[in-house]
Amino acid sequence: MAYTTLTLQEFRNEVRTHLGQPRFWGDAELDCLVRETLRQWNLLTGYWTVRQTITASIGEHWYLLSGGTFTLISRVSWMGKALHPVSLAERDHADPGWDESTNVGTPRLWMPVALDRFAISPAPDLSGRPILVDGVSATPTPILATDTINIDDGLVEPLTHYTKHLALFKVGSDLFASTEPERKELWEAASAYNSRLKSTNLYRNVVGKTPERAFRPDFKAPGGTGPRTSE
């Protein structure tokens, strides 16, 4: 896919052409909405990624990443080998004393604890070795009019349409309601970049049924109780 670089001002002008009444929105206001659009896009797709190396300590299970760098940790590796992800609850139930300081060895598992914090098990038995963390970075947001936004060519339309949807919120009424398809357009575009998104209820709530799902029979319980039967 071809790549394009737009300045914040060019992006803003593109939004203005969609809005029609350019004087109702100030530059600073539209800039905020452009930044919100980019953040939304990054949340839906993990478009901007980051890699950070942190230094392991002997016997240390818990690690905190530097503030604001990561939006999501997606992969942790130790000495070139990817660790297997499990949940903290799973680990606690499987081995309640897993984070005792004596529980050291070659790390095999990692657990997401918060968006900027993770744990590994067992704790490293070597100090000073790198733990490589990959994830979705905090969205790079343009501040100055000349700051650039690097995106795929085909994304300019859905992103500017979504910004228009946000801008029309303050107008309200039917005009705002009529831009709901432009919000769906962003989610549909995002699903091409993140196939897992389509399998979430959240996606179906926003976009509606996918074509594949529309063919499935709609099961309804008669009277709201009892076994479910197909009509």
Partner: protein, 216 residues
């Protein structure tokens, strides 16, 4: 996090067709205090429901003491482990309710200290404390993982605790509150939209926490 409460207030003033002003609202429809109160509520609600930012702290446990308070303002304990000082053994402390403990052992509050705490519950007063239903009989510590809020928002440029990329969902939550205010500002259609956006943020953050929406 680098996003400030004043940034969100400015964006909300834009969305409500108010003039950008850090110290007051131009019209008398809403007050700045209403915005700030709602900001605090929505941020706490978002963090409590998602657990996306957690604080880890070691809290000293004393013989016979039931009630403990984390250093940072806690809005929900996510994980509690009792660490025995004598040998460093770690034991999970499970969540229970006061009702369960009262019915299991009505004298738990004046009961003798037991080997180690097994269950805990969050207290209503003070709201950010927790109590263990079996007080320890030896000194140790609690390894607590909780939702902590670093500082209350005032509207004067305090950094949000919510990650930057999720901050706009707090804005939608506050707008939902403001647009439900009785009288002239009431706009149920847009308030419903804003509430749905806030819920969307919570769902998205939960998916992030479980790694279910990783790019694939």
């Amino acid at each position: 996090m680098s996003r400030l409460d004043s940034d969100l207030i400015t964006e909300m003033q834009d969305a409500l067709i108010e003039t950008r002003n850090a110290s007051s609202m131009t019209t008398d429809i809403w007050t700045l205090d209403e915005l700030v109160d709602s900001l605090n509520d929505r941020q706490a609600s978002f963090l409590r429901q998602t657990g996306c930012i957690l604080t880890r702290e070691s809290i000293t446990g004393y013989i016979g003491v039931h009630r403990y308070e984390p250093a940072s303002n806690s809005v929900g304990i996510r994980r509690l482990v009792w660490v025995r000082r004598s040998d460093g053994d770690r034991h999970p402390v499970h969540r229970a309710t006061t009702w369960e403990s009262d019915n299991r052992n009505p004298t738990w509050m004046r009961g003798r200290a037991v080997t180690r705490p097994r269950t805990f519950g969050e207290t209503l007063t003070p709201a950010d404390a927790f109590e263990v239903f079996e007080a320890p009989n030896e000194v140790g510590s609690f390894d607590a993982l909780y939702v902590g809020i670093s500082s209350a928002l005032t509207g004067a440029g305090v950094a949000l605790t919510v990650p930057d990329d999720f901050a706009h969902y707090i804005k939608w939550g506050v707008l939902a509150d403001l647009l439900l205010k009785r009288g002239q500002p009431e706009d149920r259609a847009r308030a419903a939209y804003c509430e749905a956006r806030f819920e969307e943020g919570i769902e998205l953050a939960k998916l992030f926490m479980t790694n279910e929406v990783r790019r694939g």
